[in-house]
């Protein structure tokens, strides 16, 4: 995959989004891969008794979607020299449609900085922060 050149991106350029459907099955698959079998993620009956009133996806699953967007946009520059700083704002739930977004905020030589986020189908921001490639 060709890498994105800094000269191809200007401040304000949007990264191609990644769109994913969250299901309980997918949350379970991520729990198995990550080893994080917290009942809040995989046990609907238990999760219904918590402040979240139902199961929620692992935050790191959403970061996997952001990483896919960054890999598609920047290739090995993200894989080998990527940086990320985010906050989890709200949970993703089974049935949600998650859309990632990225916007270039600075281009300085090889360094490209982006604002990034994940939203659900209601437009709620679930993850927000910054990412950079070197």
């Amino acid at each position: 995959m060709p890498e994105t050149s800094a000269t191809e991106l200007a401040v304000g350029s949007a990264l191609p989004p990644v769109v994913k459907q969250i299901t309980q099955e997918k949350i379970g698959r991520y729990a198995d891969a990550s080893g994080d079998h917290n009942r809040l993620h995989i046990d609907p009956e238990f999760a219904a008794t918590t402040q979240f009133e139902g199961t929620i996806a692992h935050g790191m699953l959403l970061l996997g979607y952001i990483s896919e967007m960054m890999t598609a946009a920047f290739g090995s520059r993200w894989i080998e020299r990527g940086r990320l700083k985010i906050r989890f704002r709200a949970p993703a739930r089974p049935g949600d449609t998650i859309t990632t977004a990225g916007s270039v905020t600075a281009v300085d030589g090889r360094r490209i900085a982006c604002d990034i986020e994940c939203k659900n189908q209601a437009g709620d921001v679930l993850v927000s922060g910054q990412a950079e490639v070197g």
Partner: protein, 134 residues
């Protein structure tokens, strides 16, 4: 019974955990996050898979307290990791404070290769009810 993170204070270092990025595990991770972009980088592990393993290191050493929420994440990818490579993950509690009945905990995460060279570094921020620490 494994202690939870609530039992540990600032400065606690969790035992390093070594792991192999086996073909099966990487394939399971890629399937779980449905990462279509990494296929263009043959033999390379998605960088967020490393972060997932760093978190797993924590969970192998200490469970999450009831009501724990992942608040934020910082990650620095320092080089690509290859399928089949052996790595070691470390985690240290670098901050712990309490406010309004909630504990806020910061953890430094790092992954190095067989030569001890860094592959990934990062910081996770978690919060959980102070009553979980009582």
């Amino acid at each position: 019974m494994t202690a939870t993170l609530a039992a540990f204070g600032k400065g606690h270092e969790f035992p390093p955990i070594s792991f192999e990025l086996s073909e099966d595990w990487v394939a399971g991770y890629v399937a779980a996050v449905e990462d279509a972009s990494i296929a263009a980088h043959s033999g390379v592990v998605p960088p967020m898979a490393l972060a997932t393993l760093a978190v797993r290191t924590l969970l192998d050493s200490a469970g999450l307290p009831a009501g724990a929420v992942h608040v934020g994440q910082e990650l620095n990818f320092l080089r690509a990791a290859a399928v089949g490579e052996s790595l070691a993950a470390r985690a240290t509690i670098t901050s712990r404070g309490e406010r309004a009945g909630w504990v806020l905990m910061g953890l430094e995460l790092s992954i190095g290769d067989a030569d001890g060279s860094p592959v990934m570094s990062g910081r996770a921020t978690l919060t959980f009810p102070a009553e979980a620490a009582a």
